[in-house]
Each structure stands twice: as structure tokens, then as C-alpha cells.
């Protein structure tokens, strides 16, 4: 592989890994609070559609990102109501949320099919962006790429070094203990899902505003489910998620590079790469998983009897 294609692969991994990382961080927060949300796919679709339509309407991608984050968070509250208030099954509720998001985003996005946007501005950092190789690989992106690693660190700090994070993780492990300590598990879980929705919305917006620069139905193409797999791969840890997102972003970038270079393999087979990698990685990691998962993941606090 030549130097330039290796550079392309690396920067491709960063671009493809960015939305995955936003989504994964959100899911990590939710799962740490004991809630597994398969509806992430729907949340991302909502973010993608709302972000894109807002950007077309206002001409301001920053507003688009804000609207997408808010839409994702509010949309995730439907899921919160079902699994927290109504104690519904999390997996089925998540899939229902995915359907709802797919339909609603199709409805919202329909008038904007074919619209053109400029997308997010590339921000050049003085000196750093002019470095020979590293400059092109690391410092030629938009604001959301630069922010994603700091946000991962912020999530890590919030989860492990604040009272809020401690309580949140405790809800995922043993909700009764949190209740006994005087904080209500439901409130914390709603908060976790709200933040998860914000991040999921941003992830979707990144796909429509920065990667595709267009809107298409089902444009997330299973990225939300890949992110759920990534959470397991990261062992529910925000910093490990950075490495995971880069690896999975790499799989997507590799597939795109091979297609662009006309490698004589059917694009349909190449497209399988991220999904197969998710499965393969999970299978290898499977044994370790049980020890790392929050103890009460998937169960709902039913009060202290």
C-alpha cells in the first residue's frame, strides 16, 4: 500500500469512527445506568434528519447539530418512558424506537431529499495543520471530530470522578443501593438516557452533515447496532471506546478505499466488513464480557420490596 492510500485510510478511519464514537459514548452512559437501548439506530436517524433539515432551512450547520442533539435526546425520552415508567422490555422497546425513528425521520427528511449543503467547515489549526504527514492525517477536520476525544474524556471523568457518575454507575449495578442512599434511580436513568440521546443525535447529524452531506432514508445502515456492539467491545469504558471506534471506522474506511481503488471484489461483499468485524470481535471478547457488564443491565428497578 502506498503512503497516500495509507493516509487516506487513516483519515477515513477518523471520519467514519467519529459518529460511531459519539453513538457509543451515549450507549455507554445508558448501559452504565442499566439500560440497553437498541433504539440508538432510530435516535441516530432522527438526528440525521433533523440536523440536515435544520441546516438546509437555516444555512447554519451549527444550528443543525444543536437541533439534532436536542431531537435525539427528546426522542430518547419516549424510550425512557417505556422502559423506566412502564417497565417495558428494553430490547423490544428499543426495536420499537428504531422503527419509530426510521419512519419519523423518513417523514421529516422527505422534502429534503436531493437538497445540497456545504456541510461542516474544516478548521485548520495554525502550525499543526501544516505539519507534513501528521498534519494531513490529524488536523484537517471539522469541529465535531476535534471535539469527540475531549468528549470521551469528559464522559470518562463524569462517570468515574463525579458524584453523579458514581450514582449513575451504581444504578446499573445495584439500584436498591442508590435508592437507599437517597437518590432516585429513575431520575438518574432519565438523565442518562437524555445525555445518550444528545450524543446519538450528534452521531446521526455527523453522518448527514459531514459524511454524506445529504439525507437518505435508513442512511445509518446499522451503524447504531454496530455502536451497541462497540460498547461491549469497549467493556463499557469511554476511553476504550476511542480505540474501538477507530478500529471499526477503519473497517468502514478500508472497504471504501478498496471500492475506490477498484479492487475486484464485489462492493456488496466489502460492505459486510463492519458487521462481520463486529461479530468476530464480540465472539473473541465474549468470555470477558460477563465480568465487565453492569450487573443490573436490562433489569428495571421495581422499588424496594
Amino acid at each position: 500500500m502506498t503512503g497516500s492510500s495509507l493516509q487516506g485510510l487513516l483519515s477515513g478511519s477518523i471520519i467514519a469512527g467519529t459518529p460511531l464514537l459519539y453513538a457509543t459514548l451515549g450507549e455507554v452512559i445508558g448501559e452504565r445506568a442499566g439500560i440497553i437501548n437498541l433504539g440508538l439506530e432510530g435516535v441516530m436517524l432522527m438526528g440525521a434528519a433533523v440536523g440536515f433539515s435544520t441546516t438546509v432551512q437555516t444555512g447554519n450547520p451549527a444550528l443543525g447539530v444543536f437541533a439534532a442533539a436536542l431531537a435525539g435526546a427528546l426522542f430518547n425520552m419516549i424510550f425512557g418512558f417505556l422502559v423506566i415508567e412502564r417497565r417495558a422490555n428494553q430490547l423490544a422497546s428499543g426495536l420499537a424506537l428504531m422503527f419509530c425513528g426510521a419512519g419519523l425521520s423518513a417523514l421529516l427528511g422527505a422534502p429534503y431529499i436531493g437538497s445540497q449543503i456545504k456541510g461542516l467547515n474544516e478548521i485548520r489549526i495554525p502550525i499543526l495543520s501544516d505539519l507534513p504527514v501528521a498534519g494531513t492525517i490529524l488536523f484537517h477536520y471539522d469541529i465535531l471530530v476535534y471535539l469527540v476525544v475531549p468528549i470521551a474524556i469528559l464522559v470518562w471523568w463524569a462517570l468515574f470522578y463525579t458524584r453523579w457518575g458514581l450514582s449513575l454507575r451504581a444504578v446499573g449495578e445495584k439500584p436498591t443501593a442508590v435508592f437507599a442512599a437517597g437518590r432516585h434511580p429513575y431520575r438518574l436513568q432519565y438523565e442518562a438516557l437524555f445525555v445518550a440521546g444528545l450524543l446519538g443525535g450528534i452521531a446521526g447529524a455527523y453522518l448527514s452533515l459531514a459524511v454524506a452531506k445529504t439525507w437518505a432514508e435508513w442512511m445509518t445502515a446499522g451503524r447504531g447496532f454496530v455502536a451497541v456492539a462497540l460498547v461491549i467491545f469497549s467493556k463499557w469504558h469511554p476511553l476504550r471506546a476511542i480505540a474501538g471506534a477507530l478500529l471499526f471506522g477503519g473497517a468502514i474506511a478500508l472497504q471504501l478505499q478498496m471500492q475506490a481503488r477498484g479492487v475486484p471484489i464485489s462492493p456488496f461483499l466489502l460492505d459486510m466488513l463492519p458487521y462481520l468485524l463486529s461479530l468476530g470481535v464480540l465472539a473473541v471478547w465474549g468470555g470477558a464480557r460477563r465480568h465487565a457488564a453492569p450487573a443490573s443491565l436490562g433489569q428495571v428497578f421495581r422499588g424496594t420490596e
Binding site: L38, A88, A102, L107, S266, F268
Partner: protein, 352 residues
């Protein structure tokens, strides 16, 4: 992961007997339809006209009604495909992918053995459909039995792989040279086509869901296997200690579930499409999941729910063609129906 759920709770068997629970069941759907109507209104569509169109074109004519029955065939199969593994808490969300692989296997048989007479070829491609979907389902079964990957995640991811694999064959090696730019295989010979009833598209494949439902009910309530499955579903640890091969059941039930979804794929290529196309299914596998959840795995409930969602699915086409809505907008209605069902089931089991 011990994930709580309400496998045994069933919207049709609420307190207060059959009549009141049917009324309650119905009231829930009215709620879902109302919310969807408000949404349609918000997007500048006329909900009354939309619903009138949906119901008149499906229930208002013999042909429309027969089309509902046509859709119920794959929907009931994919619903049982979810219900079978759910007896031991397995969540099969891979119906869509299993359907595609079933169709793929059946197409292989139909294209390569097209000289066989119908009485051999049709059973042969049916078995191939079951085998394809079954093997695809048992990948997830094995991954789960080994304790490597939860079947929920693996079935979800394998959906995408299955659809891509189908696209690969349809766009690539199996592409029919005579259909120019259309990605599709050659047309099936008559011997590989399930016969239809005169004047409709209702076809002989209706015996498959019927047989599946009866067998499902019979095995579950009248056999040792049903008892063992209930034991695993009730208390896996106790079942394991009493010598029930849980891992065997996991793989077997994922095979059966996948096989039924695969059969739905065979039915669609053989009777409806007549060839393999990428647009084989409008999400039958996913809608089957909703049906199974709505009915809590109850056989009659699944038929009722399949009927309702067949109307909704057909309604999606009407909303798209006559009202200019995107085809997947109807997913909102599907989701709303599942929302109300889930909200009720969950609330009920929470009162313990």
C-alpha cells in the same frame, strides 16, 4: 445477561375474560391510530382520508382482502420464527436476514434443478428455504450457546450481512442477462411456482403458517420437548441440573425459528415474485417480530396481530402511492402499536 421480559404475559389474556380483554386490545390500537392521525395532520395530510383509503382498499373488496391474506402468509411465518426461540428467552431479531437466506437457498434450487417435476421441485425448494434460514439462525444459536455473543446483537447484525449477500448474487453471478438493467435472477419455471387460487394471489403456501402454528401449539403443550422448553424458560439453572441439554435447545430453536423465516422467503420468491430480487421483503422479518411480541407468543393472537399488521403494511403502499408519503412512514404506525402494547404489558407485570 438476564434480561427481564414478559414472555408469558399476553395482551389477549388480561384479567376480566376474553371479551373485555379484546375490547382493551382494540382500545390500544385506536390509541396508536389516533397518534398516527395527529402526526399525519401535522405533516399536512388528511388522516381521515388516509385511513378511509387504507381500509376501503384492503377490507372493502374481495381482491383487497385476498391481498391481506397474501401478506399474512410470510408475516405469520416470521412471527412464529420469533415465538419459537422466545419460549426459552431467546430474542430472534434476525427474521429479515433469515428470510433472505431462505429465499437465496430456494432460488438456488429453483434455478439449478428446473427440469424436475413440480411434485419434487416444490418440496425440495421448500426444504432448501428452511435449511437456509435455519442455518443462518443457528449461527446466532451457536454464538449464544458458546456464551460468545448475545443472539439479539448477532441476529441484528446478520440481517445486514444476509441482505448484502443476496444483493451480491442478484447483481452478480445470478443476474439474469435478459432483464437488462434490472438486478434480478431468471424467472422460475412453473414447476418451481406455488400454485395460486384463481383470480387472486393467495397461494398454496398458506398451508405452511397453518402447519407451523398447529405444530407450535401441539409441541409446546403436548410433548416432552414443550415441557423441557418451559423448564428452561422458567428456571434455566434448575433445567440444566436436571439434565436438559440447554445448549442443544438454544441451537435447535434458533434453527427452527430461522427455518420458518427462511420458509417465508421461499414462499415469497416462489409464489409472489417468481424470481429473486433485492426488494424481496418490505420488512416482513421485523414486522413478524412485532406480531410475536404483540401476541405474547399466543398462536391465535399471532393470527389476529398478523391480520392487523398485514392491513398496516398494505396501507403503507397506499400512503406512498396515493398520499405522497415515504414508504417507511408506516413504520411509525407499527412502532406506535408496539409502544402501546409494550407500555401495557410492562405496567402489568410491574404490579407483582
Amino acid at each position: 445477561m438476564a434480561l427481564t421480559d414478559n414472555r408469558t404475559s399476553n395482551v389477549l389474556s388480561g384479567p376480566g375474560g376474553w371479551v373485555t380483554s379484546s375490547i382493551r386490545f382494540f382500545a390500544l390500537f385506536i390509541l396508536a391510530f389516533l397518534v398516527f392521525a395527529i402526526l399525519l395532520l401535522a405533516f399536512g395530510k388528511n388522516p381521515i382520508k388516509a385511513y378511509a383509503d387504507i381500509f376501503s382498499s384492503t377490507l372493502g373488496s374481495t381482491y383487497g382482502f385476498s391481498e391481506i391474506l397474501v401478506k399474512m402468509i410470510p408475516l405469520t411465518l416470521t412471527a412464529v420464527a420469533v415465538a419459537v426461540p422466545s419460549r426459552i428467552w431467546l430474542i430472534n431479531v434476525g427474521g429479515e436476514g433469515q428470510l433472505y437466506i431462505g429465499a437465496l437457498f430456494a432460488t438456488w434450487g429453483a434455478l439449478n434443478f428446473n427440469t424436475l417435476p413440480a411434485w419434487i421441485l416444490l418440496p425440495f425448494i421448500s426444504v432448501l428455504g428452511v435449511l437456509g434460514g435455519g442455518l443462518w439462525g443457528s449461527i446466532s444459536g451457536i454464538l449464544r450457546a458458546k456464551g460468545w455473543v448475545s443472539e439479539t446483537i448477532s441476529t441484528l447484525l446478520l440481517n445486514y450481512v444476509a441482505i448484502l449477500l443476496t444483493n451480491f448474487f442478484v447483481f452478480g453471478p445470478w443476474k439474469d442477462m435478459e432483464s437488462a438493467n434490472y438486478p434480478q435472477t431468471a424467472e422460475f419455471v412453473d414447476a418451481a411456482t406455488l400454485p395460486s387460487f384463481v383470480g387472486t394471489r393467495v397461494h398454496a403456501g398458506f398451508v405452511f403458517p397453518l402447519a407451523a402454528l398447529i405444530l407450535f401449539y401441539f409441541v409446546l403443550t403436548r410433548t416432552r420437548w414443550g415441557l423441557e422448553m418451559r423448564a428452561i424458560g422458567g428456571n434455566p439453572e434448575a433445567a440444566r441440573r436436571s439434565g436438559i441439554p440447554i445448549n442443544g435447545y438454544i441451537i435447535l430453536l434458533m434453527f427452527i425459528g430461522g427455518g420458518l423465516a427462511g420458509l417465508a422467503g421461499m414462499v415469497e420468491v416462489s409464489a409472489i415474485q417468481g424470481r429473486l430480487r433485492p426488494s424481496l421483503s418490505p420488512g416482513y422479518g421485523f414486522i413478524g417480530f412485532l406480531i410475536s411480541w404483540m401476541a405474547g407468543g399466543n398462536p391465535l393472537g399471532m393470527v389476529a396481530a398478523a391480520f392487523l399488521l398485514a392491513i398496516v403494511t398494505a396501507g403503507g403502499d397506499i400512503l406512498q402511492m396515493a398520499h405522497g408519503l415515504p414508504g417507511s412512514a408506516v413504520n411509525i404506525l407499527n412502532a406506535l402499536i408496539l409502544f402501546v402494547v409494550l407500555a401495557r404489558q410492562g405496567g402489568k407485570s410491574g404490579v407483582k
